[in-house]
């Protein structure tokens, strides 16, 4: 088993990956955590009204409820979401990837909304991301200005926030990843979907909830293109083991 993400940690963390009808990156997230980060991960069905003892939750990519109405709009009211919100509000780690990011904005754990891509196309390709901060839960093992090559695959990734709130988001340092070119320059040409300020990923004020449109779980091993996504998971894993050295008790 490859477990490079597990280097230097004092225990194995336990993750839940929520499965909505229409999720399609759930298995990738489980495999990324288990196989490439050496952690425990299990799937959590969207109808669950309770959660097992977990250290972190991933809301995976896909098309929950067929993306009907708006991406993430229906998933946000799934029974499991009450517990996900409580989990996030208790300070535990929550990551929303692609559709997961859309769900996090719909349920209010993250600010903003993700509208239709400017070019009206579903975009599925590699993009470059500039790491904006290296002092967050999700980027501790990365460097400011580091460029990650990670794919996007979405139709609604056009991040929007009204001007005053956007200014606040930036002032608070909540933007963690921006679309950039291969040299790390944040340019209009490197913005694939029209997202304001080239925003690809943000955190909440408390810093324990991350939403990002690109798919780090698809880039956890060099064999799959690049290992650039793994640093995001391993940062979160290190954060958890440093702050919660004892494993969460297993639910009877």
């Amino acid at each position: 088993m490859q477990s490079m993400g597990a280097e230097g940690i004092n225990r194995i963390t336990r993750w839940g990956v929520v499965v909505f009808p229409g999720s399609n990156c759930d298995h990738d997230a489980v495999i990324a955590l288990q196989q490439f980060c050496g952690q425990e991960a299990e799937e959590i069905w969207h109808c669950s009204e309770t959660l097992p003892e977990l250290d972190g939750i991933v809301l995976p990519g896909g098309f929950s409820y067929g993306d009907y109405l708006r991406s993430g709009a229906v998933a946000r009211f799934a029974p499991v979401m009450n517990e996900v919100v409580n989990f996030a509000e208790s300070g535990k780690v929550v990551m929303g990837i692609c559709n997961g990011f859309q769900i996090l904005t719909e349920c209010g754990l993250l600010p903003g909304a993700l509208g239709r891509n400017v070019g009206l196309r579903f975009i599925c390709r590699e993009v470059y991301l500039r790491v904006e901060r290296s002092d967050t839960i999700f980027t501790k093992q990365l460097e400011v200005g580091q460029v990650l090559k990670i794919p996007i695959a979405h139709n609604e990734g056009n991040y929007y926030l009204p001007p005053a709130e956007l200014e606040e988001l930036e002032a608070n340092g909540q933007v963690v990843f921006r679309y950039c070119d291969r040299m790390g320059r944040v340019t209009p040409e490197s913005n694939p979907n029209g997202a304001l300020n080239n925003i690809a990923g943000i955190i909440n004020r408390a810093g324990n909830v991350l939403g990002m449109m690109p798919h780090p779980e698809r880039r956890c091993d060099a064999l799959l293109g690049s290992p650039d996504g793994r640093g995001i998971f391993s940062s979160a894993i290190h954060h958890i083991t440093e702050n919660w050295p004892c494993p969460a008790a297993r639910r009877k």
Partner: protein, 81 residues
């Protein structure tokens, strides 16, 4: 009662669909069309006799689910009014 909810993108929000339709209309010779905005009409059959109650409940569910208040506005008609 019949409840109709019209959901519109707020004016500040870019509407790439509308823009595409406008370009298409222009190419077809309808160059008088200067702006196109695309929204949604949602029709609901709602139990209840009391119009103000039905309307108030519709306001509530529209705000919670049918529209995203950050990007969209909505308008409610109950039995056509």
């Amino acid at each position: 009662m019949k409840v109709t909810v019209i959901v519109r993108l707020k004016p500040a929000i870019l509407d790439p669909q509308g823009k595409t339709i406008q370009h298409s209309l222009e190419q077809m010779g309808f160059s008088e069309v200067k702006d196109v905005r695309i929204g949604k009409i949602i029709e609901l059959n709602v139990e209840g006799e009391d119009e103000p109650t039905v309307r108030a409940r519709a306001e509530e569910f529209s705000h919670k689910l049918l529209a995203n208040p950050l990007m969209e506005s909505f308008e409610i008609a109950v039995d056509g009014r």
